[in-house]
Symmetry: C2
Subunit: 112 residues, 2 copies
Amino acid sequence: MKPQTAVEALGSLAHEHRLALFRLLVQAGEAGVSAGSLAEALSVPNSSLSFHLAHLFRAGLIEQRREGRSLIYTANYAVMNDLVGYLMENCCAGADCGTDAACEPAQERKSA
Amino acid sequence: MKPQTAVEALGSLAHEHRLALFRLLVQAGEAGVSAGSLAEALSVPNSSLSFHLAHLFRAGLIEQRREGRSLIYTANYAVMNDLVGYLMENCCAGADCGTDAACEPAQERKSA
DNA sequence: GTGTCATTTCGAGTTTTCTCGAAAGGTCAT
DNA sequence: ATGACCTTTCGAGAAAACTCGAAATGACAC
């Protein structure tokens, strides 16, 4: 993972609303949540919500699929795992600290 | 971990220089690195570096100790682990994804 | 205490981010 | 193709973050 990629991902998460969104999606799993439900859950105007979703999307942290007239958002677990791995890389000057975080949903993942 | 705490920690990491600083300290382990060495490693003016170190410190991600006239900075692994745990909390709607990231240096930790 | 070295704080200018209403873009039923 | 619905894009004002030189603080040696 390149530093700039990590900075963008972290910047996306470094905001009250976006962090709440991302955690909601992480907890929702593959099923995901619609844009409308997210706006309601956070009590945020649609335009603001869309701005934040686009931010997270640009950073690769979330994905989007259409379902009828709704857009369903899901967390991108592969990117999240990469990010965490990047943070902890070569942790502790080689000391034996168990760093093997990973979240792999039972269902299919595109390329992980 | 409270949302605002996580936002501050993520915001601290969401910057090229601060992310580089933090990763350097994570890799340095308990030995840590002096402010001067960090400024040199990043080729950043002292005043800018100090600004970023203070940012990371305020967020609890790094710690500070004096050694002669130098200030030595070290990563706070406990906060890092909490942050990662917070991100992955209740991951995947209960699916069995192995999320047990943690980095615990062999040496003493204050309260973890 | 005087000088020197390591680091932080102050201040002001520049740049970036956040917010949200209004308008536009797609999707579906009739 | 008209209307209803869900969502995004646009735009401009308000707020926050970044940078770095200059001045101040704290620690050590003599």
